[in-house]
């Protein structure tokens, strides 16, 4: 990850983020209304909001730093810490809870040695808890870097993560790994042992 100076450079005139933020400000005006969209843009770029950027963003948008900080900490979407290479989101919506999401989390936690919300020391994985991914029929569900995997068991979840499913491998993508590991239907394991775990 880039150091503070390099990150700040993103916001200098001509920097890659500056253009996008200027655009937002042109559209929404300087002030309150731009706050959330600007923070979202920054998170899209870095995967989190580097706190050291907040004073610069404040100057650009005309908001005070404390106000930005209060927004960044209110909404659960915003993170103030960097995430690992691979983001694993475990759904803890109602359907997934009934189908055993706790066990999925516990298995991943044990496997990766980190708590929910944390990043592994080698910066490879972050586990995050989310509420309902909208695929309740496939519960329990996790996403790995945005790709959804359903009808899991704790054991399958661990195998998916260890097998590199959904992970950023430039060339081969994940197709092979996923199909081999999670059964013939891509992301969904074919047979679900009727709520055994729930």
């Amino acid at each position: 990850m880039a150091g503070t100076a390099e990150k700040v450079a993103y916001l200098q005139p001509g920097g890659p983020l500056r253009e996008r933020i200027d655009q937002l400000i042109r559209r929404l005006g300087r002030g309150q209304e731009t706050a959330i969209p600007v923070l979202q843009e920054i998170q899209k770029e870095f995967g989190y909001i580097p706190p050291e950027l907040l004073p610069r963003v404040a100057a650009l948008t005309g908001l005070c730093g404390s106000e930005l900080y209060s927004i960044a900490t209110f909404y659960s979407q915003f993170r103030l810490h960097p995430i690992g290479e691979n983001l694993i989101q475990v759904c803890h919506g109602t359907a997934c809870h009934l189908a055993g999401a706790e066990e999925i989390t516990a298995a991943l936690r044990r496997e990766l040695g980190i708590e929910e919300g944390d990043t592994s020391p080698d910066q490879k994985y972050t586990i995050e808890k989310v509420a309902c991914l909208g695929c309740c029929s496939l519960a329990p569900v996790i996403t790995i870097n945005g790709e959804t995997f359903g009808r899991l068991t704790p054991e399958k979840a661990v195998r998916l993560v260890r097998g590199g499913a959904g992970q950023k491998k430039k060339e081969t993508q994940n197709k092979k790994g996923v199909e081999d590991k999670a059964g013939p239907q891509n992301n969904v394991s074919p047979q679900n042992k009727e709520g055994r775990l729930s």
Binding site: F74, S76, T94
Partner: protein, 620 residues
């Protein structure tokens, strides 16, 4: 409804909404895409559609030919190849895989035939990324009618006639909300579409937006015309990237065709729509918090009145409606208010979309007439409980709602009847529970959610919900004390009274209704330190059934704490003092030899008799 044979209509549809994609529909779509290109010209047209609603057997492929419609379920690449060869190529449908058809009887036929699909009529039929597809299906006809021949007052009167009530949860009559907004002094006025869908276990709005985005947008323009507004906002959950993408595309196509923008269709009426992505806060579904969030503030509710209809965005009159409400508006003007008036009950008109999930055999998105019974939804449409387990309860309304026991399954689903038994209609989440669902655990789950999502403004909500949660936690850990239930009930009532917004006012509901209908389950936890559903980890043990265990050794290898030992081909032994009840062995064992037992019971009969309930799971 057999179709007249016309050589023209030969279509292959592949469902590409989030759930379909997650189930592997993309490769299937790509397969048909490349294969159909090789077939003789115009033989079959491939259409990408949204959600057909049969999420339980995704990926879905529908073939429409001269004979009629054949919907195939659980289509993988291999099935796709055979459908291509046999059905599309040789004209012989693969009947075994048909889940629904208007020619033959499909495997899951009643799932669709028992529904009443008005709102979802386009879902799974049209291409959500093509405005032409929507127009062909009757889209924007309502808007044209409105702009060409109705005054704003007449629009509101038509809505009144239809009887439409808000689908976001509270059921406020839509025509009244619009009339108030129209009559409020102040300009400009705004229309806001609430697409925050925070109920964790509900996906109606996502599905509608992914499958039929234009319906919602059309409803918004009609709302703008009726209340006298030229600007609309959609506040949508950030967790729904596909819906956002399809909305953006839809808006661009509308602007191109002048369904949106200046002087729409030459009517002199102008309207613009902006998208605002939420940032992950459940409370932002509450209308005043939502407005604060659009304005860029922390999403904290404020007292009402003034209502948004009087003082909304930037203090201006604002009409806020739910996604489904607005899509209903478009249908009412497309099909006429009678379609609504004639369907449903006296006070609840029309249909309601539910996200049916949980321990039901067929889960997915369903649309039913108001007044249908819970039993009919669970059994006739949902196909009963998965694995033929006893039906215990349904939960509606998510964290604001209540649990309805199986004994009240005849209750009609309408706003009043549900409120009467302590539940609510809610926005449409409908979770089915079987005898392996612990009601204390469910109550704790919802309370954990509301505790985390409380914005912190009101003392009772901020400090009261964690107190309730701690008590429930204690009960689940076997540390419950006599008097806990009374304390929960008292706290619950106090939180309801002492909270400003719906979040706090309804947060105790899941606890209060489970205490009301499942008190003996709480008692078992508190007095006997026993979890009848065998869910609460501190109250159960795992054991290996010697008669069933084949000694394959799989469990010893997977156990993270080495609690299982034994010799190969002999029954293994599990050390209960070491076991952490993580569930890995349970999900790994091929022979179901590992059982869970809740303490204080005869070990041999424990598994089968863990529930001292009747067959239907009633506990009253």
């Amino acid at each position: 409804m057999k179709r007249v044979a016309t050589a023209k209509k030969r279509i292959v549809r592949v469902g590409l909404a989030s759930c379909g994609i997650a189930a592997g529909a993309r490769p299937v779509y790509n397969f048909f895409c490349s294969e159909l290109a090789k077939m003789p010209e115009k033989s079959f047209t491939l259409i990408r559609t949204g959600c057909i609603g049969m999420c339980f057997c995704e990926p879905l492929v529908e073939v429409e030919d001269e004979e009629g419609v054949y919907l195939y379920g659980e289509v993988d690449l291999e099935k796709a190849r055979r459908i291509l060869e046999e059905h599309l190529g040789a004209g012989r449908p693969c009947n075994d895989w048909v889940v629904y058809s208007d020619v033959i009887t499909g495997r899951e036929q009643d799932y669709l035939t028992r529904q009443h699909r008005i709102l979802l009529k386009n879902s799974g039929k049209i291409d959500p990324e093509d405005i032409g597809s929507y127009v062909k299906a009757g889209g924007y006809r309502g808007l044209q009618k409105v702009l060409a021949s109705l005054t704003p007052e007449e629009v509101i009167a038509t809505l009144e006639e239809s009887g439409l009530r808000g689908r976001g949860g509270a059921g406020f009559p839509t025509f009244l909300k619009w009339r108030f907004t129209r009559q409020s002094p102040g300009a400009p006025k705004y229309v806001v579409c609430n697409a925050d869908e925070g109920d964790p276990g509900a996906f109606m709005d996502r599905s509608i937006l992914e499958s039929d985005p234009h319906s919602v947008l059309e409803g918004m323009i009609i709302a703008g015309y009726a209340i006298g507004s030229n600007e609309g906002y959609i506040y949508i959950r950030a967790e729904y990237p596909l819906a956002v993408q399809r909305l953006r595309l839809a808006i661009a196509q509308m602007e191109e065709r002048n369904y949106l923008g200046e002087n729409i269709l030459g009517s002199g009426f102008s309207f613009h729509i902006h998208i605002r992505e939420g940032a992950g806060a459940f409370v932002c579904g509450e209308e005043t918090a939502l407005l604060a969030s659009i304005e860029g503030k922390r999403g904290m509710p404020r007292p009402r009145p003034p209502y948004p209809a009087q003082e909304g965005r930037w203090g201006k009159p604002t009409g806020i409606n739910n996604v489904e409400t607005l899509a209903n508006v478009a249908r009412i003007f497309e099909l006429g208010p009678e379609v609504y008036k004639n369907c449903g009950t006296e006070k609840s008109k029309g249909t309601k979309v539910f996200a049916l999930a949980g321990k039901v055999r067929r889960s997915g998105l369903i649309e039913v007439p108001m007044g249908i019974s819970i039993r009919e939804i669970v059994f006739a449409i949902g196909g009963g409980i998965a694995g033929d387990k006893p039906f215990k309860a349904v939960q509606t309304g998510g964290p604001s709602g209540g649990c309805i026991p199986a004994s009240l399954a005849e209750t009609p689903v309408d706003y009043e009847s549900l409120a009467e038994i302590g539940a609510i209609m809610g926005s449409g989440g409908l979770l089915v529970m079987d005898d392996e669902t612990c009601m204390v655990d469910v109550a704790r789950f919802f309370l954990n959610f509301t505790t985390e999502e409380s914005c912190g403004k009101c003392t009772f909500c901020r400090n009261g919900t964690p107190l309730m949660l701690a008590t429930l936690d204690r009960i689940c850990r076997g540390k419950g004390r006599p008097g806990d239930l009374k304390r929960l009930e008292e706290l619950g009532e106090a939180i309801k009274d002492g909270s400003l917004c719906g979040l706090g006012q309804t947060a105790p509901n899941p606890v209060l209704t489970t205490i009301r209908y499942f008190r003996d389950e709480y008692d078992a936890h508190i007095n006997e330190k026993r979890c009848p559903a065998r869910i609460c980890k501190d109250l159960i043990v795992y054991r290996i059934e010697t008669e069933t265990c084949t000694g394959c050794g799989l469990c010893t290898r997977i156990c993270p704490v080495q609690a299982i030992s034994g010799e190969r081909r002999r029954p293994y032994h599990l050390d209960e003092t070491v076991c952490i009840r993580c569930g890995l062995c349970l999900s790994t064992c091929h022979f179901d030899a590992i059982i869970t037992i809740s303490e204080g019971q005869d070990t041999h009969t424990a598994d089968t008799n863990a529930n001292t309930t009747t067959a239907s799971g009633e506990r009253e």
